[in-house]
Symmetry: C2
DNA sequence: ATTTAATTGTGAAATTAATAACGATTGTGG
DNA sequence: CCACAATCGTTATTAATTTCACAATTAAAT
């Protein structure tokens, strides 16, 4: 499988999401221009991205939505992603309950917390285990990604547990940088930085 | 004020965060190489970014942390950002309680929900108002940014209210694209896309 | 059947971002 | 005081990404 730039992948996932919505609206075809309007990108950008995956559009008609969607998914969404959560606090619970995950594409398969009072309980069918059980439980879940939603001061030890459990992907919601082996991929989501950088955008105009 | 690429701004905010931590550890100086280790960037990248803001480093010693921090903040963090929240559900409540916001840089000043049972209550000193009150209440709060944490199907109407309230920045947590005037800045945080793109990274190796 | 207009797909140009190379500076140790 | 080694800052180079320009295609209209 050819590999595409990170940015292309992100945009492609956005196209898939958009195509899903258009399908629900009963549309059959969509042009690059329409997609551009919806996604706030340019039509050329969209055609170029799509051209990575083959010649799928038809002049004068645009793209057949169902077909385009299935071709894009072939590259960026082969099968369901299984996720485990570390830290069932405010943010962690919200993530478990996040409606965007209640589809066939992402499945939360287990949660872990140090608080003994939470261990054994369930949130929305997701069972909560103790941190100590992680290296035993995680492999059984076939998870691919671990979420760090613990207090910032425990992010590194949580990352270590995630790595020890055999996961190769981490989404880190704490405002810290974690150290992991170089074959483990980390995505940092620092809400403060998101807000502050948006604020900079506003002020620069 | 000169304007810098979005990416430079994001990295700079990351530097500020890192410098904060180093200060807490009692460090006085830091080299570009050390910063690179921590942030997972390259030393050249860091020196280049910093050079945008002036000559502040000293050969053989590196950067004086306190000085560097204050210079960077001058460009990316002039004053506190005030934020209002729309949608006090699971995710919204978690955002209000998010510890990363309990500092002097970001301040949540009001929340809005359609649920009359929530209106009038408070979460962590943040008062919850009804949606109808937004255009009246928001201007009084001096907020700059609005958060959309409502169910996806109401994202557009919420965006319209935010725009009508005079805000020029929106952080959109719903998996939808919203339409806003072009002088309003939007940052989309689609958790599904974050997870799926990370999954692609993993599989591509 | 022919023309027309809309739309895709793509190679080239332009822009933006990252990396490398290296000179300049300055603490430090002899 | 001098040589050395570490580190910054900057210019040049390379790489990645986006935009442009336009040829190719084809549904629709006549």
């Amino acid at each position: 499988m050819k590999k595409f730039p990170q940015k292309t992948v992100t945009r492609t996932l956005l196209y898939v999401r958009t195509l899903d919505n258009l399908l629900e609206q009963g549309k059959k075809f969509v042009s690059s221009w329409e997609l551009a309007e919806i996604t706030d990108l340019t039509d050329v950008q969209i055609r170029k991205d799509i051209s990575n995956f083959g010649r799928v559009g038809r002049p004068r008609l645009g793209y057949e939505i169902r077909k385009l969607k299935s071709i894009l998914e072939e590259y960026v969404l082969q099968h369901t992603v299984h996720v485990v959560l570390f830290g069932v606090g405010n943010l962690g619970s919200a993530i478990i309950r996040y409606p965007g995950f209640h589809n066939e594409k992402i499945k939360m398969v287990a949660a872990f917390d140090v608080d003994k009072k939470k261990v054994g309980k369930k949130i929305r069918d997701v069972k909560i285990y103790s941190f100590d059980e992680a290296t035993k439980v995680v492999p059984k879940t076939h998870a691919e990604i671990g979420i760090i939603a613990v207090p910032a001061e425990h992010s590194q030890e949580t990352a270590d547990i995630i790595v020890a459990s055999g996961l190769r992907g981490i989404v880190n919601f704490t405002p810290t940088t974690i150290n992991v082996p170089k074959d483990v991929f980390v995505k940092n989501i620092d809400l403060s930085i998101e807000f502050l950088s948006l604020f900079c955008d506003i002020q620069r105009t």
